[in-house]
Structures are given as structure tokens and as C-alpha cells.
């Protein structure tokens, strides 16, 4: 059983690596090849607040403001009265999938910072604070759980957003 669990963990890590070098989240983009340069894409969240609530005072929520001039930010009323869409993308910086994947693995991918900032901005606007994980943790580091610890350290910085 332990061997199977380890095999499953290896498979998960393999899928994660594939996803890391595939900005679209493991979909058809992978088939375009790892060396093709991609344009930065918009990362978008919908915030369940009115447009007025979000843009009042013309101040961005702190996590987004912290991204500075490196990004473009767009607001749009969400369809179906679902609040406001916040969209962010890098101003420039076309990268190959390989370079992007290396940056992502090393935690220096600017898209990771955008994802985290969007998620945190949404939480601040909707709930008034950013939900923190439990601390101190009760978990122990082992050779088997190291890949999972690596993944959870990137909790809000990764995913399909």
C-alpha cells in the first residue's frame, strides 16, 4: 500500500510539474510547445461587491496596489449582477513556457504574485480580512510529504486562476 501511495504521490508531482510549465493549466496550450513565447494573459476574479464599493476613493485594495506599475488592472461589472470583475495582467514580458516554468518552480513567477494578490484582494473586499492558515502547524516534515508541503506553500499563488 505504501508503495502505491508513493507512486500516486509521484504521479501527482509529475502532473503538477506538467501544469507548472503549462500556463493554461494542462490543457491544449501544452500542445503548442514549450518554446513558443506567450503573451501575458488576464487573471480574473469576480468580487461579490458593487462597483462603487470597489472603486470608491480610487484606491486599489492593498494587495493589488502592491503590484505597482508592473501590471495592468481592469474593472468590469460582472454579468448577472454578480458584483465586479477584477482583471490583472503583466504589462509586458512575453516568456517561453520553459522560462515561465522555471520561474514558477523557483517561486519567482510574477503570475504567482498576481494570483495571490487577486485572491487576497477579493477576500479583503468581501470579508474584510485575508484568511490565514492555522499556525503553528501540527504537521511534521517527512521525505514523503515534502512535495505536498512545497505545493501548499504556494497555496494562493498557484492554481488555474
Amino acid at each position: 500500500m505504501r508503495g502505491l501511495i508513493k507512486a500516486a504521490a509521484v504521479a501527482v508531482v509529475g502532473m503538477a510539474v506538467r501544469r507548472l510549465v503549462s500556463p493554461g493549466g494542462g490543457d491544449g496550450r501544452w500542445q503548442r510547445g514549450p518554446l513558443v513565447r506567450r503573451h501575458p494573459r488576464w487573471h480574473v476574479v469576480t468580487v461579490n461587491r458593487s462597483t462603487d464599493d470597489v472603486v470608491r476613493g480610487k484606491r486599489l485594495p492593498e494587495p493589488l496596489a502592491g503590484l505597482g506599475e508592473a501590471v495592468e488592472i481592469r474593472f468590469r461589472r460582472a454579468a448577472g449582477d454578480r458584483g465586479i470583475e477584477l482583471a490583472v495582467r503583466l504589462r509586458d514580458g512575453d516568456r517561453s513556457a520553459v522560462i515561465a516554468g522555471i520561474e514558477r518552480l523557483s517561486g519567482r513567477d510574477p503570475d504567482q504574485a498576481i494570483r495571490a494578490a487577486l485572491r487576497e484582494a477579493k477576500q479583503l473586499l468581501e470579508t474584510g480580512e485575508v484568511l490565514h492558515p492555522d499556525y503553528p502547524p501540527t504537521t511534521e516534515s517527512t521525505a514523503v510529504n515534502r512535495p505536498l508541503q512545497l505545493a501548499t506553500r504556494q497555496g494562493r499563488r498557484e492554481g488555474r486562476l
Binding site: M1, R2, L4, I5, A7, A8, A9, A11, V12, M15, A16, R19, G25, G26, T46, N48, R82, G83, R119, K122, Q123, E126, T127, G128, E129, V130, L131, H132, P133, D134, Y135, P136, P137, T138, T139, E140, T142, V144, N145, L148, Q149, A151, T152, Q154, G155, R156, R157, E158, G159, R160, L161
Partner: protein, 391 residues
Amino acid sequence: MKALVWQGVNEVAVSRVPDPQMRNEQDAIVRVRKTVTCGSDLHLLGGYIPFMQRGDVLGHEFLGEVVEVGPQVRRHKVGDRVVVCSFISCGRCWYCQQELFSLCDNGNTNPAITESAWGFASGGCYGYSHALGGFAGSHAEYIRVPYADQGAFTVPDGVSDERALFASDAAPTGWMGADLGGVKPGDVVAVWGAGAVGQMAARAATLLGAERVIVIDRLDNRLRMAQTHLGVETLNYQTQDVGGELLERSGGRGPDVCIEAVGMESHSSGPQFWYDQIKQQLRLESDRPIAARAAIYHCRKGGSVFLLGVYAGLVDKFPLGALMNKGLTLRGAQQHGHRYIPMLLERMARGELVTEHLATHTMSLDEAPRGYDMFKNKHDGCVRAVFEPAA
């Protein structure tokens, strides 16, 4: 403090872990009075959900007393006796406002894992792996409760701990299956699984007006419990012809609503079990969907199937043909407990919903490893093992 921690596949132990700390202004700290095993914990125990780490505290169904509140907590104060929904939901995102609380956008601090696996992330859950936020579980002396105003519910004075405990998860999960499964007065409802969730789904179906409710399992003690405490009909799939009986009892139509309360480690008596067991062990499928297949097959034309049992990933031989050609409605969800818990506590206070019989074994937290062994292996008629950290 003391807590029951996951140490590896099928290994749990009571250990000392750090006390929980307030991390947000909307947090509360709850001293756990009762915390109970859940069938879905067995998927974590068995390594079927590969996002556990050594030292993770298990448990998500609990009741306790508030001992500390953050400055933004308005509805609770120190000393309140509360039952806490197993899912962590903010109450303010679009999903929460649609009462789809387990789909909360903000309750999971590790959204990347489930977003990658399922397309979008669900909310967080106590003691349910790092895929659902990595929050410490309730099999401990104390637990941190984020968004306490949303997820903690004061227990009315007339409701005992023993009864209210199941308002945390089993009762709202079961109720959701009947409610979102669309049970209407006069319906014939079949429920696969006579564990606590299946029994609560059967009771909910009765309270929502179903004319016949039939619970299906292989364990006679659980079926007897459903007959005795819920007054429903039962079928033992190991000794009875489920298909024939369901046709006979529904006038040849099949059940209007089929609720599956079994999940990814489903059993059966035929070769189907070995097929799925081998594929699951070889990780050629992650889940054994035997009860789900049966629910789809036996459901009447145009009927409704609701999946309450937990599934993690991919299944094999899924009867899409039956689903499509019979025009079925298939739904499933982790529990949207915040939507039902206040109503369920009222029903508990009125005596309409009783749950005490589900707690077949009560013991101290020190004995929790033995409790899980009994629960997993169904020893001594164990339906649920309840732990009392203060005992």
C-alpha cells in the same frame, strides 16, 4: 494539547500538538466537548486522498464551548455552547449568498490543489487534508474556528450535546441530499448506505413528505437501527434482490429520488467489487462508485440521483448511458450546512430529529485509535465513535 493525528496510511495516534491560535479577527477558539468519526475520514485514513501530512489533526464533526473570540466576532461570546459546521465558509461571497456554502470562494487557504484537480476550488473543511485548507481537525482539546459568526451555531438549551453533535455534519448532509435531490410529498425514496448520513437522509426524506423510504445496506445492525429509530423500510443487498424489491415497492416505476450516502469505498457482493477494488488499489481509478452506479441504474425515468458520499477523483464504468437515456438529474455536493443547521437544531429541540442512537460508542480522546479501528472495521456494531477530549 492532546489531539488525534494522522501518522501515515491506516496509522493514527494521540499526540501532543501546539494549541491553536487566533489567526484572524473573525476567529473563535472552541474547547471541544464532543467530536465524532465520519465515514469520509476513512478515505483520509486509507490514503485515498493523498493530501495528508504526518501530524495532521483529524476530525470535522464536533460541538464545544467558545473560549476565545476575535474582535470582529459579533454573534458569539465566551461560554457559548456551539455546534460548528464542518465546512469553513465566509458567508459573503457569491456562492455563500446563493446558500452553496461548501463552494465558498474564501474558505480554503490552499485553493491551488482542488482548483487544479477539479477545475475550481471548494471551501475549506476542518481536518480534511491540505486539499481543503489544511485546517486542524476537531479530534483535539481545542480548535480554531475561522469565520465564527458564519460557521458556529449556538445550541438551544433544550438540545443535548449528544443530539446536537450531529448537526455539525451528518444531519445537514443527509438533509441536503433529500432537499436538493428534490424529495416531494408522495415520493418513493431509496437511500444507499445506512450509516449516519444515510440515516439522516432517510429521516429528512420522511420529514419532507416521502411516502416510502427504503434504506439499503449490507449491515443488519444498521438496517435494524434505521427501522427502529426512523421507521423506514430496509433492504440488505447481500440477502435480497434490490432491483426486484425496489420495483415491487414502487409499483414497477423505480424510486423517484435515489440518494447515495456511501462514497468512494463502496462495497458490493458481486465481482463488481473486486473489479473496482483492484483498479482502485492500482490507482487506475481513484474511487469505487458501486453504490452510485446502482442508484443511477435503479432510479425511475426522469428521476433524481443525489451523491452525498465523498468522491475524490476519477471513476470507471460510469453509467452515462442510463443517466442520459433515462433523463435523470444527477447532483452532488459537500454539505451546505450553514443553510440547514439552524432549522435542524429547531427540529432537534422539537424532537422531530433524533440522533443519539448514531453514537454507538463514546470514549475519551485517548482511546480514539481504538475508536477508529472499531469504526473502520464495523466491530461491535459501531456506527459512529464519539470522543470526549475532557474525559
